[in-house]
Amino acid sequence: MDDQASTAPQHPIITFDAQPDGYKHWRMEIDGRIATLTLDVDEKAGIRTGYELKLNSYDLGVDIELHDAVQRLRFEHPEVGAVVITSAKDRVFSAGANIPMLAAARHADKVNFCKFTNETRNAIEEATSLSSQAYVCMINGTAAGGGYELALACADIVLVDDGSSAVSLPEVPLLAVLPGTGGLTRIVDKRRVRRDRADFFCTTGEGLRGQRALRWKLVDALAPRTRLAEVARTRAESMAANSDRPISGEGMQLTQLDRVISSEEVRYPNLAVAIDRTARTATFLLQGPDSPPPGSPEEMMACGDRFWALAVARELDDAVLHLRFNEPDIGTWVFRTTGEVPLVAAHDDFLLENSQHWLVREITLFLRRTLKRIDVSSRSLIALIEPGSCFSGTLLELALAADRSFMLTGTFEGSNLPPAVIRPTRMNFGPLPICTGLSRIETRFLGDAAALEVLQEHIGRDLIAEEAEELGLVTFAPDDIDWTDEVRLAIEERAAFSPDALTGMEASLRFPGPETVESKIFARLSAWQNWIFQRPNAVGSGGALELYGSGKQPDFDRGRV
C-alpha cells in the first residue's frame, strides 16, 4: 500500500459556527409566531476570495448562516410556528449559488458545498413536516437556480406578480450543469409539475412568471408588489395556527460549542476524534451519558444544551462537517464508544416517552439528521464494538450505519472489563430512519419481515458478540487473538482502494429499498451533477462553467455518453 501520510489541511479551516448577531448575509426577525429570514448578501463577504456575491447569490458562508438560522429557529424559538424566507434586495430574490465561486472551486469543494446546501434544504422540509415549523417563501423578485431551489424546499411559495419577476432553473441552458440542490427532483416529485412542462421550464433560461408559473404549479400563490408581504404573512399565520408548537415558553439556547481543534485531534466534551494521517483514519470516540436521564422534560430544559443527547448530537454533527470539509484525505471514519449501555438505553427511553414534548422531538430529529449526514458522507465507515463501549439504541445506529462492524468476542487479555454487549432499543425501529424512510435495521434486513420480528423481540436485551453476529447486527465478531490484525487489515485495505470507487460502492450499497425525494436528491441528482461537474462540457477549459462571464460560448463535445 501507499504509505505516504496525508498532511494536515492547508486551507484556512472552515467552521460551521454562527450567531444571529454576527450574520453577514441574513437577518432573523421574530414577530409573534412568525419568524422572517431575510437574505441580504454582503457582496464583499464571500467565505473565500476571488468572487463577489452579486444579486444575492450565495456561497458556503451564506449557507452556513442559513443552516444556523434554521437550527436555532427550531431550538431557540418554540413559539415560532412558521418562517418566511425573503430577500432585502429590490426586485431580486436570489440568483442562486455564485457561479464564479463554483467555477473556481475544486471538484471536492463543489460536491461538499452542494451536499451541505442540500442537507440544509432537507432540514427546512423536515422542520415543516415534523417540527410543525412551516416555511413560506416570499419571492420578491428574480429567483433563479439555487434561489428558486431554496423556495422549492419551502412548503409554500408566494411569487410577486409584477410582470417581470420569474422563477427559473437556468442551469442547463446557461451553465451546462444541473439544478442540483434538489431542483429537478422537487419540481416533479414534490410539486408534481408535469414532467413535459418541467422539461420546458428547465430549458428556458428566463423561467416563468405570474399566472403561468401558478398554473404550472411552480408557485402556490401570486401577490401584487404592494401586498406581497401581507399575503405571505397571512399564509404564514394560517400555517402557524396549525402548528402544535407551544405558543410561549423558553427555548433552548445553543451556546458556543466547546471544541479544540489540533492537527491530531478534534475534542469536544462528549466526543474526541483522533486523526491518524498515516492510516488516513479518523477515530470517533463517543462518550455515553454519565448519569441517568432527567426525570421530566422540565428537568431536561434545566440542563440546557449540555443535556447528553443534545450535546452529543451537536458535537457529532459538527465533527462530521469539520472532517468532510477540512479533512478530505481522511477516508475512513472509525466509530467507537465508551460508557454504560443502560444509561444510553435510559436516555432513549426518556426521549421516546416524552416524544410529545417539543424539545424532545427536536433533539430526536436532530439525532436523525446527524445520522443521515453520516450515511451520505463519502467516507468508509467502520464501527468497533469493544468492552467498555455503549452501542445501544441511538449509538447502536452508528454501528448500523457503518459499512462494516467488528465486535470483540470475549475480552481483551489483561483487561478486567466484561465482554462487550449491544442493546437494541425502540429507537432502532423507526424514529431514526435513513433518507429512504426505512430504519437502518429495516434496511439491513430488507424484505425479511421474519428477521425483523425476531430482532424486535430483542429490544432491551444485552447481546454479546456471538448473539449479535448470529442476529446479523454486526459483520464480524473476532476474538482477542484475531481482533488487532483483522481490524488493522480491514482499515489498511480500505485506505488502499480508490477513494472514488469506494465512494460509489458505499453509496450504492448503503441505501437499498424504496426511494424518496431525499434519496433521489442524494443518489440520482447528486450523482449526475457530480458526473457533469467532472465533464469537459462543464468544467473543461472550453466548458460552460469555465467560460461563464467571459462572453465566450462553450464548444461542446456533442457525443452523448
Partner: protein, 471 residues
C-alpha cells in the same frame, strides 16, 4: 377588424400577406389603444397635432406632416431596407451570414434584449403623461406629442419583432409590455430610471437629452445585431431617436440662452427672482439625469453583456469603424475596482466590459452638447461651465454603487455625502421652484418666460404656427 392594414398600419414588412402576424397584431392593437388612452398623454385625445408620420422608409415617405388626432395616429412598422449579403460583424459567428430567423439557441437572450428595450418605449410615454398641461409653447407641446407617438411606434416595432419571431412567448411578452407601468408600485417598468417621474419641462428636456441618448446607444448596439430583423428595426428607430435628442438638446440650449439673457438684462446671477432657471440649478438637473442614465447601462462587468457580444446579438457602437478583430476573444479591458484604499484598476475580459464601453461612448456624446451650451454661456461673457459629473457620482448600479463621490469624483464617506448631496442634486424646494415656472402657454407664437423661443419652427413652418389645434 376588416381594415386594410397597409393603410392603418403603414409598414414595409408585407403585413397584409402575413395572416399569422396579422392575427397577432389584431389582438394586440385594441390593448395598445386602450393603453394609449389610459396611460398616454393626458386629456389629449381630441387635439389635432401637427405630426410627422412615417409612411414608408423612402426619404420622402418617412416624414409626412399633417394635423392628426393622436389616437388615430398611424403607428407603422418599418425596418430599414435590407443590406444585400449582410454578414454578422462581431462575436463568435463573425463573417457568417446574418440570421433572418431567430437562432434557436439564442432565443431567450434575444427575447430578453427586445423586451428590455421595448419596455422603455411605453415607459417614457407614461412618465411624460402630465407634461401636456404645462407646455411653454405650442411648438414645445407639439414636440412632446411627436416624441410620444414615436415612442409608441418604437413599442410597435419591438412588438412586431416579438410577434413575428417569438411565437406564444413573444405574444405574452407583448401583452406584458402594456401591463407594466412607470412608477407602478405593483408592476413597475424593468429599469429604474423609467420609473422616475418626469413632471416638469426641464426634466423633459433633460430626459430627451440623456435618456433618449441612452436609447440611441442601445439601439446603435442592437442595430449591429446578427439577427437581421432586429438590426433593421433599430436602424430605422435611430432616425427617430435623433429627433428626440434634438428636442432635448435644443430645449436645454434655449433654457441656457434664456438664463444668460436674463442674467445680462437684470445683471444678476440669481435669475430666480426674474423667472429664470439659474445655471447652478441646471447643473444639478444634469447631475441627476446623467448619473441615473449611467445606471441604465448596467454593471461595468456583465456576463449577460459578454454573452450578447459573443453570441453576435448586441455589438459595440459603430462596430465597423473599430480597428480590431471584432471577436475580442482574448482581448482585455481595464476597468475600475473599489478597494479599501480607493479606486484601483482591474483587468477583465473585454467582452465582459461591453456595458462600460458603450457607456464611455455615451459620455463622449453627452459632452458634445454641453460644449455647445458652454459656448452660449461664454458668448454672454458669463464665467460658468456646465459639466458632466464624475462616473462615480450618485450611482446605484455597478462598481460605484457601494461608494459615494462628489461630482468631481472625490470619494466621500456616507456622512459627508448626506451632508453635501443637496448641493449637487435637486432639492424638493428647487423642484417646487422649477414646477412653479411651468405655466402653460397655448397662444400661437407666445412662450413662457423661462425659455427662449426656437430658432426655427417645424417643417418650414413659423414659430407662431398653430402646431396644436385644441378644437
Amino acid at each position: 377588424m376588416q381594415a386594410n392594414y397597409n393603410e392603418t398600419i403603414p409598414n414595409n414588412v408585407d403585413l397584409g400577406d402575413d395572416r399569422r402576424l396579422l392575427r397577432a397584431l389584431e389582438r394586440w392593437q385594441p390593448a395598445y389603444l386602450q393603453w394609449w388612452n389610459e396611460m398616454g398623454p393626458a386629456e389629449s385625445s381630441k387635439f389635432r397635432v401637427y405630426l410627422r408620420t412615417a409612411i414608408s422608409v423612402d426619404s420622402d415617405g418617412w416624414a409626412h406632416f399633417d394635423h392628426v388626432r393622436m389616437p388615430d395616429y398611424r403607428w407603422g412598422i418599418f425596418l430599414a431596407r435590407p443590406e444585400a449579403n449582410r454578414v454578422i460583424g462581431f462575436g463568435d459567428h463573425k463573417g457568417l451570414p446574418a440570421w433572418t430567423e431567430v437562432p434557436g439557441e439564442y432565443r431567450t437572450e434575444l427575447r430578453r434584449l427586445i423586451v428590455t428595450q421595448g419596455d422603455t418605449e411605453p415607459a417614457s410615454v407614461e412618465q411624460q403623461r402630465q407634461l401636456g398641461r404645462t407646455a411653454p409653447s405650442l411648438y414645445d407641446l407639439r414636440n412632446l406629442y411627436q416624441v410620444n407617438v414615436e415612442e409608441g411606434r418604437h413599442l410597435w416595432a419591438m412588438v412586431y419583432l416579438l410577434h413575428a419571431h417569438f411565437g406564444r412567448d413573444g405574444r405574452e411578452e407583448a401583452e406584458a409590455l402594456l401591463e407594466r407601468h412607470a412608477g407602478d408600485p405593483d408592476r413597475p417598468r424593468i429599469l429604474q430610471a423609467f420609473n422616475e417621474r418626469t413632471d416638469d419641462w426641464l426634466s423633459f428636456f433633460m430626459f430627451t437629452y440623456f435618456q433618449d441618448r441612452d436609447g440611441k446607444f442601445q439601439l446603435a448596439a442592437l442595430s449591429e445585431s446578427g439577427f437581421d430583423p432586429l438590426s433593421r428595426t433599430c436602424r430605422f428607430m435611430l432616425t427617430e431617436e435623433a429627433h428626440h435628442m434634438f428636442v432635448g438638446e435644443t430645449g436645454l440650449m434655449r433654457v441656457v440662452q434664456r438664463t444668460c439673457e436674463l442674467m445680462r438684462e437684470f445683471d444678476t446671477d440669481d435669475v430666480r427672482a426674474v423667472g429664470g432657471v439659474p445655471l447652478p440649478m441646471l447643473q444639478k438637473w444634469i447631475n441627476f439625469h446623467y448619473s441615473i442614465c449611467l445606471d441604465l447601462f448596467g454593471s461595468e462587468r456583465s456576463t449577460n453583456a459578454a454573452n450578447y457580444f459573443g453570441m453576435g446579438l448586441k455589438g459595440r457602437y459603430q462596430e465597423d469603424k473599430r480597428d480590431d478583430d471584432h471577436r475580442l476573444v482574448d482581448t482585455q479591458l481595464e476597468i475600475p475596482r473599489v478597494s479599501a484604499g480607493g479606486i484601483e484598476t482591474q483587468i477583465i475580459s473585454a467582452r465582459a466590459g461591453m456595458n462600460l464601453m458603450l457607456r464611455r461612448d455615451f459620455t463622449l456624446d453627452s459632452q458634445r452638447g454641453l460644449d455647445r451650451f458652454n459656448k452660449v454661456i461664454g458668448a454672454h461673457d458669463i464665467d460658468f461651465e456646465l459639466t458632466l459629473p464624475d462616473e462615480k457620482f450618485n450611482r446605484s448600479i455597478g462598481i460605484f454603487s457601494e461608494i459615494e463621490a462628489s461630482p468631481s469624483g472625490g470619494l466621500l464617506d456616507a456622512e459627508s455625502w448626506e451632508r453635501s448631496k443637496d448641493c449637487w442634486l435637486p432639492t424638493e424646494e428647487e423642484r417646487d421652484f422649477v414646477r412653479s415656472l411651468m405655466v402653460p402657454v397655448t397662444d400661437p407664437g407666445k412662450i413662457a418666460g423661462w425659455i427662449a423661443p426656437p430658432k426655427r419652427g417645424i417643417h418650414g413652418q413659423p414659430f407662431d404656427y398653430e402646431y396644436v389645434l385644441f378644437r
